[in-house]
């Protein structure tokens, strides 16, 4: 299957992906790391409509604003 890389904000609900890269400044990268979002981690999108996203990461439910989610690139099958 082809692997595609796209911003997390483009994933639809129930879709999963592996975090490929985080294109953000140092502060945000570390903030995401402490919430469990690091390259290589599996994320599952639970909610994604026009507002913030809700993800399942390392057994936690994490809410990300759209702006943040656009800076996270994920690899999707």
């Amino acid at each position: 299957m082809m692997k595609r890389i796209k911003p997390l904000s483009m994933l639809s609900p129930d879709e999963s992906g592996i975090v490929y890269r985080i294109v953000a400044g140092k502060g945000l990268t570390l903030r995401l790391a402490e919430m469990g979002i690091t390259p290589g981690v599996l994320v599952k999108v639970v909610h994604n409509d026009s507002g913030p996203l809700l993800l399942l990461v390392r057994d936690s439910r994490i809410v990300l604003g759209r702006g943040v989610a656009m800076k996270i690139l994920v690899e999707v099958n």
Binding site: I22, K26, G27, L28, T29, L30, R31, L32, A33, E34, M35, G36, T38, P39, G40, V41, V46, H47, D49, S50, G51, P52, L54, V57, R58, D59, S60, R61, I62, V63, L64, G65, G67, V68
Partner: protein
Amino acid sequence: MPLLFNCVSCSRCPLNIACSTVRDKPSVDDESVEEYVVAVAGNPNVGKSTLFNILTGGKQRVGNWPGKTIERKEGARTVGNVKLKFVDLPGTYSLSALSLEEVIARRFIVEAKPNVVINIVDASNLERNLYLTLQILELTKRVVIALNMMDLAKSKGLKINVKKLSQKLGVPVIPMIAIRGEGLNELIDTVMEIVKNKVSLTAFQINYGDKIEDAISIIVKVLDEHDISSKLPYPLRWMAVRLLEGDREIIREILAVDSSIITKIEQLKNELSEVLGEDVDVIIADKRYELIEEIIGDVVEKPSKKPLTLTDRIDRIVLNKYLGLPLLLSIFMLSFMVIFSVNIGFPLNLMFPELESFNLASLIGDYIFGYISDVVSSYLISINTPEWLVSLIVDGVISGVGSVLSFYPLVFTVFILFGVLEDSGYMARAAFIMDRIMRKFGLTGRAFMPLMLGYGCNIPSVMATRILPSGRDRLLSILLSSLIPCQARLATFTIIIAAIFHNFALQIAVMLFLYALSLFLVFLMGILFNKLFFREEPSFFIMELPPYHRPSLKVVLWHAEERSKHFLIKAGTIIFSISIIVWFLTSYGPSGYVTMSEMSFAAFLGDSLSVIFGPVGLNDWRIVVALITGFMAKEAVPETFAIISNVSDPIEAVTVIGLTPLSAFSLLIITLLYVPCLATVAAIYKETRSVKWTIFTVLYLLSLSYLVALIFYNLGLILGFR
């Protein structure tokens, strides 16, 4: 002992932290009592405050971390001849010094060197929780892990090998259910063992891989050559790792003592990044999680198929695209209905007049304080106290303080209900749902909770803005929070509405209009301020949604108590002095003690100011005086009418003033919007630490209230209302 001076780096100064630790020691007391400091650290939402409460038996001293507006809680527990002094560190997800909370937690562990650090972790969510644990273990080995929420982990089908986890981490691990007190004794026993050095603790070290480890060794050597360990309190290896991660705090501190090192390290870091093909800091964070995954793989048995948890199921409905917002509105509407009916009887008392006397406010105000006033005044008269003094004590102090105290239960109910919403996990969902709307006026969903608290009392609302991650978000929320009508304003509305409008439907309509107006203005001013002062985007919205659970009465009560206590303090201090001033102004005039308030100083003062209020239909000195006292406390508005017109029932007093419906409407609008009470202004100053913004808030609210009242009053005149 008060601090003699406050310098900018006060909170970082080891002297200061040491002082505040020493200061609290019982210096002359029993010499045989040994005292140890125990820090409690953990992520938010893992039951840290519950644990802290049961550790300290609920008795705690709340203050601020030196020079910061972040709360510092302390409490103690005596075991035999040992006194354990617990310090609650701010809830953080890491010690990376990204936020003030993280800096404080880190500094305390390093500089105050607590004898033990209790790290509370959520057993049902070990993976993310252990990130902080590893960072603590890199700093100190005197750690005990409180593995909380074992029940939740069990219901998720997780099997945790506690003994193995303890071996892996090198420190004791105590399984707990803090809310039920399970595991508390074992935890305290273990803390005592660590304090008495009866337990072997292994220093924990993460292996970051050959290349990074080499770099760490080089940096440690460089730091050692420059004798940094004698200048800074941190362990050398830890500093080396932090330097590779690009920790700004540490870089700044090292620059301050020796500027030559940093360039060397930067060079090393760049070389390393090139060799590794990726940023070193990313790899380091990765390594931590790699290790955590390894530990979890060994220690935790997960069910092969993840069951759909209750939280998932509830979230499907609560966060549903179409159902979410209507559900949120219904939940808050229902809460307000409950609050209103319990507190002021509204709207029940209007529907069933025979119920009117049953509501908390009048129960306490009229009966308890009415009774106290009667007893005290008859006693004072019996011992021949001069008339003016009786009047001062009864009419001034008791009725003033009483009127504030009668609001305590009102505020308390609001915080009980919001506490239930918060503790159950719903408040975080509300933030998620509201984010989209709040973004329109430049805030993130996180500001929802602080603003909601304003419906109880504006002071905790202003204080709760501390949870917001950026100064910009905090300031904007504070500017808007005063537009939210508190319980005191609500009570004032009910009295004026009941006195002036006699049609039930009209009463409800006026009340709804006031609340809708305030919401509309929150939006409008939010958009306006955002355009005027805050060009930048709101801060990044990153938040954890805790799992739902049945709210605990204990936790809800603690929260309500903590949030509403400002109200009591206000009653005891500000209102006490204000009552005396108001009493003086209304009881004395140029001719001395007067029984007719028309001759008082207040009347003269009101008269000279009432010209300004002509255009909004309130050209009456009594109203002006009431508004002035209302600045001290909003609930004083009808109270002042009662004092001035010498009638005991505030509703009757409002009738005596003889307002037309239109000018009453104007008065309601002004009461809704003009300056928050004095205590809130003080809170705004405390939180913003800016005279400029505090004065701005007062002035903008004064002009806004006048302007809005002017618009509606004249609109009413044109439409032929009177």
